[in-house]
């Protein structure tokens, strides 16, 4: 067919898209995040707290002016100007130890959350994109893991394999993988039938490349929104393990073990070694969880 006319550049007009009923451009994830930030008072409270926790995880122990682990003679001092949160039965200042604990709690939680997200996403991506008997096997295994109470399994595992940081990180991440597997899977299952995936095949791309280049970035958002919640929960698990003595040992500053150390003293009126770590722990865990909630509303407003 011979061309009979030119296309003038002017005719190729209007590439700024808009639909007739709603002439605003569709909101990107970034816009939605900003919107949520502006309108959610919950987020405005919990975000600084979360950031503070992360800061303390990095710098907590270093900003402490006094020793965190050498016992002193100032035993069981109530909260005062010298010791804002008082001292515990070993004479250790509670305030600075509370601030130093994130170095353990939060760091371990970050490590295990990271591991869960990465491994869970990878497995979820590959098994959901490439279907097949292997995928079924993985899903059933994941169901099995999820069926067990996380905390009980964690205790058993740590007791069996030893109380090292690596083991703790490992078991917590392992037990959280099914969540991310599922999150990624539900996104990938709907993404793999989209036209742009077919277009990638038509371009000559091969499966694995398509999965990581096109599908994963579009599937990861819900998982990323869930991560802070997992973070909060992991902190709780670590504290719990340490509380019963299956995790971090004293005198390393750690909220769970601090609560345990001070537990005996509550009856006789020495509430401060347990309560302060407990309260700060609760606030931190809640902040991370709430942040995750807010992120999820931003992500799921499709």
């Amino acid at each position: 067919m011979a061309a009979q006319f030119e296309i003038q550049q002017e005719v190729a007009h209007g590439y700024l898209g808009s639909t007739e009923q709603n002439p605003l451009p569709p909101s990107s994830l970034f816009h939605r995040l900003v919107y949520v930030l502006r309108h959610s008072w919950m987020l405005r409270i919990t975000l600084p707290i979360s950031v503070a926790a992360l800061f303390l995880a990095a710098f907590g122990p270093t900003i402490s002016p006094i020793s965190l682990v050498s016992a002193t003679s100032a035993v069981d001092v109530p909260p005062s100007l010298n010791h804002l949160f008082g001292t515990d039965p070993s004479g250790l200042d509670v305030f600075w130890r509370v601030l130093a604990a994130p170095r353990i709690d939060v760091t371990i939680a970050i490590a295990s959350t990271l591991l869960s997200v990465v491994i869970g996403s990878m497995i979820g991506l590959v098994t959901s994109f490439f279907r097949g008997p292997a995928a079924e096997f993985v899903m059933r295994t994941s169901d099995l893991v999820q069926a067990f109470p996380l905390f009980v399994l964690a205790i058993i595992f740590v007791v069996m394999t030893g109380r090292s940081y690596a083991n703790i990180i490992l078991i917590i991440s392992l037990l959280n993988i099914p969540i991310y597997l599922r999150l990624i899977r539900s996104e990938v299952l709907s993404l793999r039938t989209r036209t742009f995936v077919e277009a990638a095949y038509a371009n000559g791309d091969h499966g694995l490349s398509i999965a990581f280049r096109h599908v994963l970035p579009n599937a990861i958002a819900p998982a990323l929104a869930q991560a802070p919640v997992t973070l909060g929960y992991s902190i709780l698990v670590i504290a719990g393990l340490s509380f019963i003595g299956a995790g971090v040992q004293p005198p390393t500053p750690e909220w769970g073990s601090m609560i345990a150390t001070g537990a005996n003293g509550i009856i006789i009126g020495q509430w401060w070694p347990s309560v302060f770590p407990g309260v700060v722990l609760s606030i931190t865990v809640f902040s991370f969880a709430a942040m995750g909630e807010a992120l999820q509303t931003a992500v799921f407003r499709r």
């Binding site: 005719v11 209007g14 808009s18 639909t19 007739e20």
Partner: protein, 352 residues
Amino acid sequence: MIPLLVQGLSIEYRASQTVNKAVNAVSFSVDSGEVVGLVGESGSGKSTAILGVLGLTRRGGYITGGDVLIEGRSTTHLREEEWRQVRGARIGLITQNPRASLNPVMRVGPQIMKVYQAHNKADNSEARARALSLLRAVGINDPERRFFAFPHELSGGMAQRAVIAMALSCSPRVLIADEPTSGLDVTIRAQVLDDLRRVVSSSGSSLLLVTQDLGIVANYCDRVYMMHVGEIVEEAGVDAFFNTPAHPATAALMAAHLKELRPRLALRGFPIDGRRLPSGCWLHPRCPFAEAADGCFERHPPPYEVEPGHWSRCHRYREVIAVGQDQLQPGEQDRGFSSDAPDLLPSHHVEN
């Protein structure tokens, strides 16, 4: 008494900071036994105007002026309960997507019965008989079986026919069909429209057909209104509409249907935003005919009479007609099929 008379209807959408004039002083009418087409690109306000006629607006929409007279009675001050007696009974609506109009968990027959019984005191057996006769009338063969079907069990064409039956159940004088066949297959579309037209003409009611498809307009409408950015810019009988289009928006739409570029008629840029209307004629930023000398940039065009029964809201309508005559002849490749071919199809099926 004209079954449907709309005078100066205006509808606005108010958002937090903007006002979108979706419909601007729109006036049209549909007479008994007439099929009238309401044409316009998407975004021109056709669907909003239709909803406005029924007293419905989407969230944030307000009717800011004008009157709608259904069978001679004004509807501006109707309360919601009174509207409910009008909708369905005096004026029926057929929407674009039949699956959206039908309750998916209820069988089709009872749905029609429900509508009928809402407006007429009738017992179940009477309503059932009415529903069956309606299904037969809209061209569903084997209506006894289809009566008990769920909407998802029906094909697209069948479902749309069921919706038509529902709209007709109370014998309204006015029917409004908003793109009733978009999404249907080509052969089904022709059948549904034929059935719709047949039913309308046999009952003497009026039909307002909202569409973007000029093929439908050419084959089923008696009169046509052209809408652009919420106002009616041209009105004509169907023959005049196609032979001498007198508005640039009309000419552009006709050119688009030729499947070939006609740069002299094409509109530039992208659709005009109802929240930021330009001065003068609202089409001028896009119009290939716009000239300052004729006031296109300053004066909003009043309706100019081209011929009795044909008017256009364009200062330069004469030029538009002239260029249209020249440019809108189908080219060599444009013929749907050769009109010189022998009549291949049984002549006794030709309807008039």
